[in-house]
Symmetry: D2
Subunit: 415 residues, 4 copies
């Protein structure tokens, strides 16, 4: 099933890039969490292609409508979300969607309608004579589905599907923030051959060193502002400038470029994650490493550990906690309370405007030349909101799994 | 998670009775099945409270909008479903929803907006001073959710949630019909103390005897018409009349009444169902028996088998098949190809207008008296469409599970 | 997957009737529960065919060996379970299995080796010329598996597979007893046409009326003794005698007979069960109703509710609790704290020694005559331990699910 | 639940390092696959610590006993596996386990008894005064389980748990080999700072270039021999020598060292993997990246893609297939038929004999000094068999998922 996370907290998604809507269900949020539509919209705005000047020129409004799972005695506030109308013949069914309320424990459904669609761009890809883009899923999905595939805008395999991740991830971050003060950040660390010398993990380690393992809301907010300063979301302003230039240049060259991102969570509840086959490490590797275009997922010191000796890599422990974080916040797949640290490498956007050797779907050879449509020259740079969301979803599920084992009979009382 | 069926074919639902919408996702339909919106609407219309004159007087349009998972090269037809508009400030985002297309294997999302809502009716139930209806889930859900519960119209526990079952069930029946000619029927067999002497199972057994084990589409259509004749959906026209009278009388007495239904599938593919812990018998008992207000689920000869001897109960086998159907189409939890036969007993609608001993949610004792709102006097009589749907969902999942084991390497070919 | 319960507490089983062993894994028991091997053996002994004089004459020792998931600093006690030796060539690997320890949260694995096997009895069923027993899964499993099926003793579909249910169920009952004082009983209420007038549900209702909703351990123990008195496990001693006679007579007549059982849990934690698609009602209907040979599952007043009016069926509520238990302890699929009440109807044992019309697996018609082997004339009467176990498994999973939502940050503390 | 893979093909494991046994269940193998115990033992022997002279000196026999899920009319051959005896009081229950048979579709259970245990070594870790090893899961598991943890030999978190992976993985590779000729290899590519210049992926690419995309059994066998030549399993004999020296030196220095491995599958069925949230990429990233001690998982060109331009990274397509394999056999999470290519980085073994800053479990600070016990200086070098197994498990599950969508009504025939 199309579900991320779970079995306790999970997110289901549906919807194709150029279909009517992306639909999302968020399962398993405990009752009593205050959720506002604008909080979700905030992260959706960060996810949106047009949200920075380097992304795809396609403009999408991506306004979320919340359709279930919230409640509040204040019906006026509850129901002050955008109105949704269904036009059928003469009839019209107007409903007010939710603006703010408490979670009830029931599934939270949300829809984001799809506005700007130029599906004519995608005739090039339709049918057995349609072209297959190198680096893309066009060819395998055509055969896998025996031809029954939505070719408009990449169909379900489009990055647009990550709207569901962000909606679910926002619920999770609100919950984690309320109970543990958890905050989740991401920073671009590489664009093509350009690499920053300043890592987010190192920046957070500094903050932890000077502020203690628990960062205050103010410290978290300051770090967030720092990340939002530049054209690209990164801790390194100089790198941001150079990387933005490289992306612009790459776009002009009708090419694309890869990237790498760090994702870091602070104020992480310790002791969560089931050992072995459902460990939080396994789940994060899958969930983050499984995102579109990711080719590598690293935790803590990542691939650098292969070159190390144990005496270098083991993080010493003192009574106030771990003294280093090579382990990236996870030992044996269980959180230690140190920041969770992940690094993801993204391949360059597959869709480029340069000629390439390819085939039609019936395997006739062609020189592929993109007819129309413009795309992100660097998909990686806007993946941050999604990666943070996926981390939040898995962390929240692990929190609930751990809580399930901590029996308190006072939770089972009626009369 | 709020998922029915699965792991291969499953249906997720969200949405409260008086919330903005019921949202549905259908997972795992193989690519290439032709689906029309009106086919789904047909079964939704059958499910709807106002669909017979005996149900609740609340009128709900329940028009479905299909938002994902279908595709067709004929974009005009594909996109000729009702338009959906989101009104936010000045902006408006109009999209066309799907009218007809082929499944793509991706999740099919659907939404049914909620039109007629008189939530003022439900002030009686709000907050710690709210009243708890005897026979209802009010009290347990209040404590389970620590008070964070949508009390309008029964919230998520309303029968309205079964819209999702019917949407998913329709996809499943279309698939089963296309591949196996499977047809699924239900018939009311009891309303209060009134019981019919004509069972649907017996009616189907007659048809099988005279037509062979495989019923033609015409025979199925004729049986369907027979069931749709009366005020109540049943094979017994006399019983229908008397039962309708009893329901009308019960309504006047401000009381409610129980009912029993049979559900029968014909042209059932044999050999499906995983033995033991995920057997189709286990799944049907759970899925059908777990429906709101059901207190008993019986398969084949049901509770009558307890009184029998083996020599009576074992169904003889000849080279053309089983000669009787005490087993109700399942042996060892696996289909035999004989009709699947289930019988469900529904309790009387819990919400009645007569005074009853009860408590407020804070446990202060009251004489409960329904303030406003009207309800079905007999929930059972409109459960047929939902029961048929749940059977279809489980049967389809079992079909895909069986198919997974039948390796054919030609399905794994690209170049 | 062959898993009962879950996702938090679940039981996996493997092993065929005449294979080397029944193997069981119990997942998700929280750490810290004291478990003794003899406690599990106690319920396995109750499950065993030879455990009453009416069952199958096959003697099986069914001694359980615990292989993982327990620990105690007292290694001597921990390791004082039966020794297990593997003989391979010259080598021998002796290990001590577990006798008693605390659960660690890791999976608990257990094995029950199969001693008495007379597989020669089953030549009659082997291969395409093998006979298919009416009422049995022989024929469908032969075709489903394309002939690759273990025909010895019913293979995996044998009642012997329920050893896993009982092992998992014992862990669950120990946990529920420790935290809530929950006790689970079963009583035979019908054998063939003989029905008792004394129901276990009514007996428990009396005890609740005179002792308050919470029954003491002594009261529970007394009820348990009452049930264990006779030749059959039932609250009605007269009925036990008559039923035992009927079973003996049926055996002589080389026939078999059906039965019905009640299963009742007391001191049930309220508020557990997820509403709707994973409700505890749905799960119990599936798990209990899905057991071998069960054709009907009823909860609370069961199929009798169909004949009732709402004013009769709704259970009044006072400040000290529900005043009746038509609802059988579940409203909206959530526990109310009242006793959980289920009733199951079992078909007569399919394997009988009388001639019956049947086919070979290649569909050649035969008069089927059992060559060898003897079987329970009434499978239902020894299903009690398994039904109680399945109820315990589902209840425990529901308890953990509820607990997961009750966040207590003190459970997330390391430094 | 402790399950790897699934929902169609999955492996459950139980058992602690020094407990009586590692127990395994393999779910979902279709009926009809011929399996021999020695085939499973072959891969278990490769997994075993003592299987190369560089690993831990602990000798474990790790003889597998197969307890269910196989069948063959030749009972003598079927039952010629090692005998298993249970010694309880006077009694003894000897059973013959399985040596060879066809799968039946039922779960395959296996047990590996634990022979050599020196649990006295682990007193250092017991109780609240027990020491926590830096880099180890000791501390988090102690708090997570509230002290109820098996500290002997790492308990369940030991590498010994991977016996289950290998048993399940062997069933999967047999199935994939039979239907598709799939073969799976692994090669060590880095030990500490030593890196090979010869990659397995490149070696396989050469073979594909000269032999066509489908490698013959002979070619696969030759590659396998090539890998087995040296002290370490790797395509580079010179590197093997140097790496072996480095490991020996590191052991003498009482330290440990990291490593990296490649895992490559050839003759991979195309079109398998569910897009998005359950894509094969997501599943492999999780399953391989989630293995003990892994800190990085890379697919195809891995982290190198971040530095590339799209025009470099997109693999051209011609009518006979993909012309390069930067994508590592997966596009959009679906197999292309090209070799699956993964690379894993392992941290150095956490347990080392040098003094380190640490704490007791009650957080009192200590200088940790390993009292007894010896460990692998380089866990990575023996992870190959496990990684190959995990890849096989996920690939097989994906194959069955794809097959489920390819309806063939002839698979649903009884009479």
């Amino acid at each position: 099933m199309e579900v991320l996370g779970g079995p306790l907290f999970g997110v289901a998604g549906a919807g194709e890039s150029h279909g009517p809507a992306i639909v999302t269900m968020v399962f398993g949020c405990p009752p009593g969490l205050w959720v506002e539509r604008t909080q979700i919209q905030h992260y959706l705005d960060r996810r949106r292609p047009g949200s920075n000047k380097l992304g795809t020129p396609r403009r999408e409004d991506d306004q979320v409508a919340l359709l279930s799972g919230l409640y509040s005695e204040d019906h006026d506030q509850l129901l002050s979300g955008p109105a949704l109308h269904l036009h059928l013949g003469e009839g019209e069914t107007p409903v007010r969607t939710y603006a703010a309320g408490f979670t009830t424990g029931e599934p939270i459904a949300a829809t984001v309608l799809s506005a700007a669609k130029r599906s004519s761009d995608y005739k090039q890809f339709a049918g057995p004579q349609g072209h297959a883009r190198p680096g893309h899923t066009d060819l395998v999905k055509h055969y896998k589905s025996r031809g029954f595939v939505d070719v408009r805008g990449g169909g379900r395999s489009s990055y647009r599907s990550t709207i569901s991740d962000v909606i679910g991830g926002t619920i999770a971050r609100l919950y984690l923030a309320e109970h543990f003060g958890t905050a989740i950040f991401s920073s671009i660390s590489q664009v093509g051959p350009l690499e920053t010398g300043l890592s987010l993990a190192a920046r957070v380690a500094e903050l932890v060193e000077s502020n203690g393992q628990r960062l205050s809301p103010a410290t978290c907010a300051a770090l967030e502002s720092e990340l939002e300063r530049g054209a690209l979301r990164t801790v390194d302003a100089d790198f941001a400038r150079q990387a933005a230039e490289l992306i612009a240049k790459t776009r002009k060259a009708r090419d694309s470029v890869g990237a790498a991102l760090e994702v870091v969570a602070v104020n992480v509840p310790p002791l969560v994650g089931e050992p072995l086959y459902q460990s939080l490490k396994l789940r994060l590797m899958g969930s983050l490493g499984g995102l579109h275009a990711v080719q590598a997922c690293e935790i803590g010191a990542g691939h650098f550990v292969a070159a190390r000796r144990g005496s270098q890599n083991n993080d010493p422990i003192r009574k106030d906690g771990y003294q280093r974080n090579s382990h990236g916040g996870l030992l044996g797949g269980v959180t230690t309370g140190m920041p969770l640290v992940c690094r993801l490498s993204f391949k360059p956007t597959a869709t480029i405007a340069r000629p390439q050797n390819s085939v039609r779907k019936d395997l006739e050879e062609i020189e592929f030349q993109l007819a129309k449509g413009r795309h992100d020259p660097c998909v990686g740079v806007r993946a941050g909101a999604t990666l943070e969301s996926r981390l939040a979803i898995e962390l929240m599920n692990a929190v609930l799994m751990h809580q399930a084992h901590s029996m308190d009979v006072s939770n089972f009382k009626l009369f």
